[in-house]
Symmetry: C2
């Protein structure tokens, strides 16, 4: 019974629920879009890091509270009695890493990572159990310039994929502004404003009646509720004018001024509806929306938070601003807007056909010459009829087949067949790379 998990039946070929197999075609796509992200962020002087897939469970329990740690996290106890979790998010890991080298690190840090992570959820569109998540953060700078830098990087990534302002929009708000404007409209102290904020946070998720009832119960008049309503349709100047003395207002104005001067305002808008439930956001918050009518929703978001390393180091205070973007969401976005190139059969890829009257090593020069020229080249392994090898090349997305049978070997030539045009030509080895690269012939 102890060995009951060993079965003699044939095993299933399906991957575990909510996870994906990446066959070469999907892998090419993933490498392509992770590559674009890396390239863009590195150009913006962000440095990549990564941490382990397994972390101590208490890292999540301490930070996110119960729900994520207990319900959504894969966790177990190792044989040494350690409570472990497969990381469901990256922030606790990066906080731990920053805390471990507080004295050595060169703040402000521009950091990013593309870890794989697991959440125990019911799989649905845009949400899987295993996913990759880009995490971009700027640590150790308290001013709006850091918020700007991070938002700029998100725009740069989407633009690198060919997306323009008709396809996405960054909705921006500020938690400090939010709290202050609520307090100023309602005439309450910080504590009272916090209670009201919780209700406002649910505004678009509950029926209007219930919202008004909750607000009334907190002592608000109709006029106050209307004033709050009005904020949702205001631009940033109008909204911040309601509460000009708030630090949040000043941050918002500085941020939008800079975005405008930089020509990035067309990608951005003020949106009082962006709050982001998590308690730890303390300043700028933003969400990036897909503008496609059939897919209109927040794709990803982030914001500013204080005291990143508080769980690890008592006297250090490092603030941060950042966002997380899931690979599934990004891929949906790129598909929706037709921004994924066709990988199959793009680029030069050469199959060197194999004939049984030629020893295998005679093909070495051909293969080496092409690879030295940077051309992807494989020798057909095994010996099959020429027609079968051509079929293999076509199915495998090869662009050219190089042919050297006994008679070509004798004459010191090779044949090249272009699989797109079906044209064939004969040449010397020295001309081969040029011909395939598109110089001449075939």
């Amino acid at each position: 019974m102890e060995r009951s998990y060993i079965t003699m039946e044939k095993l299933s070929t399906q991957p575990y629920k909510g996870t994906r197999d990446f066959y070469p075609e999907e892998m090419k796509r993933r490498n392509w879009f992770f590559g674009k992200i890396r390239e863009t962020l590195e150009l913006c002087a962000y440095d990549e890091y990564n941490g382990p897939m397994l972390e101590s469970l208490e890292l999540y329990a301490a930070k996110s509270g119960d729900e994520l740690a207990r319900e959504q996290t894969y966790n177990f106890t190792d044989r040494g009695g350690r409570n472990l979790a497969i990381r469901p998010e990256m922030t606790p890991s990066v906080a731990r890493m920053v805390a471990a080298k507080l004295g050595e690190l060169n703040f402000p840090l521009r950091w990013f990572s593309i870890p794989n992570m697991y959440r125990y959820e019911r799989p649905q569109r845009g949400r899987l159990r295993e996913f990759w998540q880009l995490n971009v953060d700027l640590f150790g700078c308290d001013t709006y310039e850091a918020d700007l830098d991070v938002i700029e990087s998100a725009i740069a990534i989407l633009r690198a994929f060919g997306a323009d302002e008709t396809m996405f929009k960054v909705h921006i708000n500020n938690r400090r502004f939010f709290n202050d404007v609520i307090a100023s409209i309602c005439g309450t102290d910080a504590d009272g404003a916090k209670k009201i904020s919780k209700v406002v946070d649910r505004k678009n998720k509950v029926p209007r009646d219930a919202y008004v009832k909750d607000m009334t119960e907190l002592g608000l008049f109709e006029a106050q509720i209307e004033k709050i309503d009005a904020l949702y349709t205001m631009g940033v100047r109008e909204a911040t004018a309601v509460c000009p003395e708030s630090v949040g207002s000043m941050e918002l104005v500085s941020l939008f001024d800079a975005l405008e001067a930089m020509g990035l305002d067309k990608y951005c808008m003020f949106d009082f509806g962006i709050i982001r439930g998590l308690d730890y956001y303390t300043g700028t918050v933003f969400e990036v929306f897909d503008e496609a009518p059939e897919n209109n929703r927040a794709m990803f978001g982030g914001g500013r938070y204080d005291n990143l390393v508080g769980l690890f180091a008592k006297n250090a205070k490092i603030s941060g601003v950042g966002y997380g973007m899931g690979d599934v969401t990004l891929e949906n976005f790129l598909e929706t807007h037709n921004l994924l190139p066709d990988f199959y059969g793009s680029g030069k890829k050469v199959l060197v056909a194999r004939f049984d009257d030629v020893p295998v090593e005679k093909y070495t020069d051909i293969v080496d010459t092409l690879r030295s020229g940077g051309i992807v080249t494989g020798l057909y392994t095994g010996i099959k009829k020429f027609g079968k090898q051509i079929d293999y090349a076509v199915k495998g997305g090869y662009s050219h087949v190089v042919i050297m049978g006994g008679s070509e070997l004798e004459r010191g030539v090779v044949k090249v067949k272009n699989l797109d045009t079906r044209e064939e030509c004969e040449c010397n080895l020295s001309e081969l790379a040029d011909i395939i690269s598109g110089g001449k012939g075939a």
Copy 2:
């Protein structure tokens, strides 16, 4: 008590035992060497794939037997009662993936993957709990040409890192030859040869006396034991001549003939001591040794196996040949032979300094111009004294600092400081990228 894992003490900043944090410097190194591997294998027409980190536990229990599945695998039960394991190796996953698309895939397949995996082991040099492992396989070709292609790819990878024949050597044997030559020397049938093989497999791991005793107990004479001893010092021609009718001998001779004709024989040698315990190897087996005297040992290995998909599909028979190479081992090898470049401060990286008499968006043109020229560029976020910004740039591995205070802004110029030479020059924005790229000045 249920929540006893939540603690109010400060959390540890250490990663979980046997795992690593990758700070930007380590990450650069890892990206560099995974990048080189990808580039090399893609040029050889190998396609990358990947699978999920979690798999059904029975995948490992069924294939590897008890030890790996029960003792060395991180496994647990999910809330739906599924027995899961964090993958400790890639072969079961790739076998599942191949079996799932048997009818669609284009055999022979040249596939590779660089998954992260976990094994529950005592951490030691070259062995960690979390590691990455390159897996290279060629599926669906039964002849020695496939073995050749795979061995060639391993040599190509090490050469791409700058390693030469003084640094590594591929030790090659053949399981068919091994079984046949034992049977022929001992005059036993296949079953008897198998028993003897198990003892021979342990030859170099047990004292000579114990080895001879075990062999004698199996009925072997001294002369037979000596004949087997002699194989360990023989070259491939001499060894295969002992048992010329073996299919394994023919495979070995064909393989070494081709390696020689291709000029790859200097990287390879026949070694009768290479057996590789796992029962599933059926033909060519090989291990790649580090030739450094202080580090002389097998770094990685692989071989040919039959019936990859047997656990999943009853009537299909796909053979394969491949190897797995751990990232920790590879990194040790590169370090030992001084093949790791210095990443810190290599390449152009520009910090645009920030002055409080210049609005942040005035720096946009500088940043955009440099990034458009492919130069890694970051604007200093926040406002600190110029000297502090220079310190930041030096510590952060920046090569240049671009300076535009109020007076430069007024005159329409910028200053460039080269942090290596400490030289400074003044120029127009249009000249900036050229100067930093190394064209002129600073």
